[in-house]
Each structure stands twice: as C-alpha cells, then as structure tokens.
C-alpha cells in the first residue's frame, strides 16, 4: 500500500514516515506545495496524508488536484490550525478524515488503516491477531472461533491495540482515541485500567492469551512476545 505524506515540518515528516514504514506501508514524502504537485501528477497513491499549512500554497487547493488525479485515494487531512473552517471546508471538498496536531502516532496509524479498510485495499474487512479476530463491518469479535460480547469501549480499545500491535501505546493516546478530546478533564486514567481488566477477563474466558502488556506505567503494548 502506497502512502504520500505531504508535510512541511521535516522532523515530523521523518517520524511519521518511520512509524508508518514500520507498519508495512510504502511511504513517499513531499515537503512543499510544488513537490506535492509533482508527485501527484506523476504517481498514484492509495492514501494521501495532507498537512493544510504548506509553503508555496494552500493545502486546500491540493485537495482539488488530488480529487482530479487520484480520485480513488483515501485522503487524511492534518492541520495545526485547529480551525473549524478548514476542517469543514476540507471534508466538504472530499477529504475522508481530519486529525489535528499534535496527534499520537498510534492514532494516525489507526486512522490510515481504517481508511485502507474502508476502501478494501487489502481485500478484507477483518483484523486478526493469532486467535483473536475482529470483523470491522459487523463489529464482531471472536476468540478461538467463539464470539465474545464486548462493550463499545472495550471493542474500540481492542481494535486500537490490534491495529497498533507490537507498539507501545500511551494511556493518553488510548483515552483520546476512545473517549475523545473531552477526556482531558479526567484526573487520572483509572477508568482505562478497568476497561482493560474487563477486556483481559473476556478474552481469557475463551482461552485467549493475554497479549496486553503494561509498559513502564506509561502505556500498553499488544504483542505475543
């Protein structure tokens, strides 16, 4: 799967590229409006990550170009302006999703994979990890072939883990992913522990292994190592 990342902040660009490449994506980059124009007119991409604030032009104008040349590509807009106008305009012009800076890399990865699934680029609507399988269309979760009942939040956490497998995911990132930005009003993340405790219990009941590892009190890693 080929991704074009259009981002003028080189440091951020490098980190995004590394992270996404470690997730198995093929990444190309553009650091200005003109570079982006060049790449878009020559190559086809499956997913495009576009920062709206670019030197040399407005990112919103690029959306038009993307929709002309790369109609089938999934488009994720990144903006630091946190400006509602840009968000609405971008989505109106045909962007598929919007993420504002600063974002968690796990969140970026999760959004891109969700875009990929929605477009069935990899021909499947299933996310699986050993004995655990999630059907993202029907939201059904099975362990060792047996369905388990998860609450909406448990489901979101499990899917987030499985999409970002083998990576440390911070508690802040989980909280924002599942509860939204409003969760910053919470004092502590105790409520995440209880969700994860329930999740472990439900998977354990169907003889699933416990893949959720607590890492340095900072977050969790979902892995079989």
């Amino acid at each position: 799967m080929k991704i074009l990342i259009i981002e003028d902040e080189q440091e951020l660009l490098a980190t995004m590229k590394n992270y996404l490449e470690s997730e198995g994506f093929l990444c190309e980059t553009a650091i200005s409006y003109f570079e982006a124009e060049d790449s878009l007119s020559v190559y086809n991409y499956d997913i495009i990550v576009l920062d709206l604030t670019l030197p040399g032009g407005n990112g919103l104008d690029l959306i038009k170009l993307i929709k002309d040349r790369n109609r089938q590509a999934g488009l994720l807009i990144v903006s630091a302006k946190n400006s509602l106008d840009d968000k609405i305009k971008g989505l109106d012009m045909g962007a598929d999703d919007y993420i504002s800076k600063p974002f968690h890399l796990a969140e970026l990865n999760s959004r891109i994979k969700s875009l990929a699934r929605r477009r069935h680029f990899n021909g499947t609507n299933e996310v699986s990890f050993n004995e655990i399988k999630i059907n993202v269309d029907s939201n059904e979760v099975s362990v060792n072939g047996e369905n388990i009942d998860l609450t909406k939040k448990e489901y979101l956490i499990l899917l987030y883990f499985m999409v970002n497998r083998n990576k440390l995911i911070t508690r802040e990132s989980i909280a924002e992913h599942v509860w939204g930005n409003d969760i910053s009003y919470a004092d502590n993340f105790d409520f995440i522990y209880s969700q994860i405790k329930n999740l472990r219990k439900k998977i354990g009941q169907k003889n699933g292994r416990d893949y959720i590892h607590n890492m340095y009190g900072m977050g969790y890693k979902f892995s079989d190592r």
């Binding site: 902040e9 440091e11 951020l12 980190t15 995004m16 590394n18 992270y19 604030t53 630091a80 302006k81 946190n82 400006s83 509602l84 504002s100 800076k101 600063p102 974002f103 968690h104 890399l105 796990a106 939040k153 990576k167 440390l168 911070t170 802040e172 990132s173 509860w179 939204g180 409003d182 969760i183 910053s184 009003y185 919470a186 004092d187 105790d190 409520f191 209880s194 969700q195 890492m215 340095y216 009190g217 900072m218 977050g219």
Partner: protein, 415 residues
C-alpha cells in the same frame, strides 16, 4: 427620545418663551404710544376750547369729555393730569378716563377747563395681545411640526438607513454595504468615517483571527514533533526503567503544554467572538450525550448520578461552545465530587444546574472564574475550565452563579 420629538419639544419651549417676551414688549410699547397720543389729544382739545371761548365767549359742554365752568375770583392754576373712573350709564360700568384740568384766565375771566378721554382698558389690551399671539403661536407650532416631520422623513432618511445597515453589520459578514446614498455633506462625512471604521474593524478582526491561527500552528507543530519523537523513542526495545521514567515525564509535560495552548487559544477565540455560526441546539440531547462521556469516571468513583433533564430544551447558540460549556461543568463536577458522593444535573428551558457533593472551598468563591485559579494549587488541572465557561456565558448573555449549600457545590447557568 426620538430626534423628531426632541426637536419639536425644543421648538415648542423656545417659541413659547419668545412669544411671552414678545407679548410683554408689545404690551408696554403699545400702552406707551397710546398714552402719549392721548395726552397730546387732550392738550390740543384744551387749546381748541380756549380758542372758542376767546372767539365768542361760548362755553362748550360735552360731558364727560369737555366741561367748562366759570370760576370767578380763582387764581390761575397750571394743567393737572389725573386718571379717574366715570360711571357710564350706557355700558353700566365704570370706565377709566384721563382728565386734564386747569384754571385759565381768558379775557379777564377765569375758567375751570376739564378735558377728558377714555383710557384704553389695560385688560382689553392684554387680552387682545394674548389672543393674537396665541393664534400665531399655535399656527407656528403646527406648521413646524409638519415641516419637521416631512424633513426628518426626507432629510434624515440616509441617516436611518445607515443606522439599519450598521445594526446588521457583523464581522463574519463583512460584505454588507454600509453607507446609504446621500447628498448632505454631514452624512457623506459620516458615511466616510463609518466606511473607514468598518474597514479597520474587519482588518483587525481578520488579523486577530490569523494571529491566533498562526500562533496555534507555530506552537502545535513543534509540540507534534516532540510528541512523535517521544512516542518513537519509547518504542526502542530494552529501555531501562529510569530511561522510560524520563520519557514518561517529558511526555506528560508535552501533553499538558499542548492542552494548555489549545485551551488558551479557545479562550482567545471566544473573547474575539470567532464562533459566529449559531443554530438551534437541543441542549437536552447534548447534555445526555456528554454525560455518557463521564460514565466510567462516575462508576470509578462510585458516584450517584441524579438527572432531571427536561426533554427538548432548545437554545439559539454556537454548538461547539454549548458543548464546551457542558463538558467543562460536568467534568468539573465529576472531578471534584468526593468519592461516593452525589451529582445532580438539572436542566429546564430557563436554566442549567450542576451540583456535586464536596467540602466547602477555603478560598473566596468569586475567584473561581479567574484564569489559572486553582482551589488546590498542586493539582494538575489548568485552572481554565471555569474561565471558559464564564466567557461562553457572557458571550451568549447568560448568567452564571456559584453557590455552596447543603454540602454541595452548585453551578447555575441562567439562559
């Protein structure tokens, strides 16, 4: 008071005063002239009488106007002028007369000559003047009223239409054509001044808006770099525990700065009125939806949640701001409620009340809404939540109050 009413009132008062002075002047002037003429006439009548006596010795007698008597042996006396009342049998009333009398020697005879004429009655004169002036005054006021009314409709028309345009002016719709067409210099100047003011307001607003967005971009981008680097760093296998601790504390500080920046920008945007889009918001649904966000925390602290939410309470406001207000108030209640306590949320069409059990604050409750104020100084909260709520309330013209009663902190928003 309307401009027209004010001008009419001023015209009325000043012309009334002018007419009173005018009347008094006319009155004294007229009576002075009349009296002068009367005296002259009486003196000339007396001379005619003297001439008649001198010519043929006849004594004219036309009471009460001319009376002549022979008064032998009296010495001559000069002319004396007096005002007197004489009863008139025809009109059956006393009538004021001026008389001049003298004892004059003619051809060796002495005569008492009395010449009289009616004095103009002062009351009559006054009455006549008052009536005449009154009629003129009323006519003047009526015509002024109609002239003003016509003028203000026609002359002030550009002013009123400019006023209407101004009322409809808002920063997010800067295209409005402000000045109305006019040929009057003052209005042309007013329109020019307004046009300049409008351009300045629009450009100030735009640059402020651009500034907050640029500031946001300039701060959030480096934060995004730091955050993503830390998230990458922590992925390295075999991190030592103390290394992980360092990353963890740097990471949580980045999170705090990022939230703080967002909150400060939000405050600035609210203060600059950068949330112009208003629509009818179903506050009841919004409240129910947002309460769900806090379910886990409510369960975690074993709180009891009591809701009295009247369905379908609509408010004309900005959706994002309404959401922000509810999340802040409800989040505070959950955060500050003592473990096992009670949270009460009540909503009807006129007010929203959010209560939580807790111990009273040791500080002045009026400080609660100040920026960066924290009841517990060591707390990790930003101390900006209630400032945001207050800004949102004042932007919407709502009233926010805080009370402590029955061991409960109570926040009331009146719409």
């Amino acid at each position: 008071m309307k401009l027209l009413k004010k001008t009419n009132r001023t015209y009325f008062v000043t012309s009334a005063l002018a007419f009173i002075v005018f009347g008094a002047v006319i009155y004294f002037f007229l009576s002075f002239i009349f009296e002068g003429q009367l005296n002259e006439k009486l003196l000339s009548d007396r001379l005619s009488v003297i001439r008649n006596i001198d010519k043929d010795g006849s004594l004219p007698y036309f009471p009460p106007f001319i009376e002549v008597q022979k008064v032998p042996g009296q010495t001559e006396q000069p002319v004396v002028s007096v005002d007197t009342l004489i009863f008139d049998f025809n009109e059956k009333e006393n009538i004021p007369f001026r008389q001049i009398s003298s004892v004059t020697a003619i051809n060796g005879q002495t005569y008492l000559i009395i010449v009289r004429d009616t004095l103009l009655e002062k009351g009559d004169l006054l009455m006549t003047i008052i009536v005449a002036i009154g009629v003129v005054f009323v006519l003047l006021i009526i015509s002024l009223y109609f002239i003003n009314k016509r003028l203000s409709l026609k002359l002030w028309q550009p002013f009123y239409s400019t006023l209407d345009n101004l009322k409809g002016f808002s920063q997010d719709k800067p295209d409005i054509k402000l000045p109305a067409e006019t040929k009057i210099d003052e209005f042309i100047e007013l329109n020019k001044a307004l046009e300049n003011l409008k351009l300045k307001v629009i450009s100030d607003y735009q640059s402020l808006k651009r500034f907050t967005e640029d500031a946001s971009h300039e701060i959030q981008t480096p934060l995004a770099v730091i955050q993503s680097k830390l998230e990458t760093l922590v992925q390295y296998p075999d991190l030592k525990k103390d290394q992980a601790e360092l990353i963890k504390s740097a990471y949580s500080s980045v999170q705090r700065i990022s939230k703080l920046t967002q909150t400060l920008l939000l405050l600035t945007k609210i203060a600059n009125d950068q949330f112009p889009e208003k629509r009818s918001v179903n506050l009841s649904d919004l409240l129910e939806e947002k309460i769900k966000l806090f379910e886990d925390q409510i369960n975690g602290k074993s709180l009891t949640l009591k809701k009295e939410i009247e369905p379908d309470c609509f408010l004309e406001t900005n959706f994002f701001l309404a959401e922000s207000m509810i999340v802040n108030l409800a989040g505070n209640a959950v955060k500050h409620c003592i473990t096992g306590g009670i949270i009460n949320i009540r909503l009807n069409k006129s007010k929203l009340e959010i209560l939580n059990s807790g111990v009273p604050f040791s500080v002045l409750s009026s400080k609660l809404f100040e920026r960066f104020f924290k009841v517990n100084a060591s707390s990790e909260s930003q101390g900006l939540g209630l400032s945001i709520v207050k800004e949102i309330c004042s932007l919407n013209g709502w009233k926010i109050d805080y009370l402590y009663e029955d061991n409960q902190h109570k926040f009331i928003v009146e719409f």
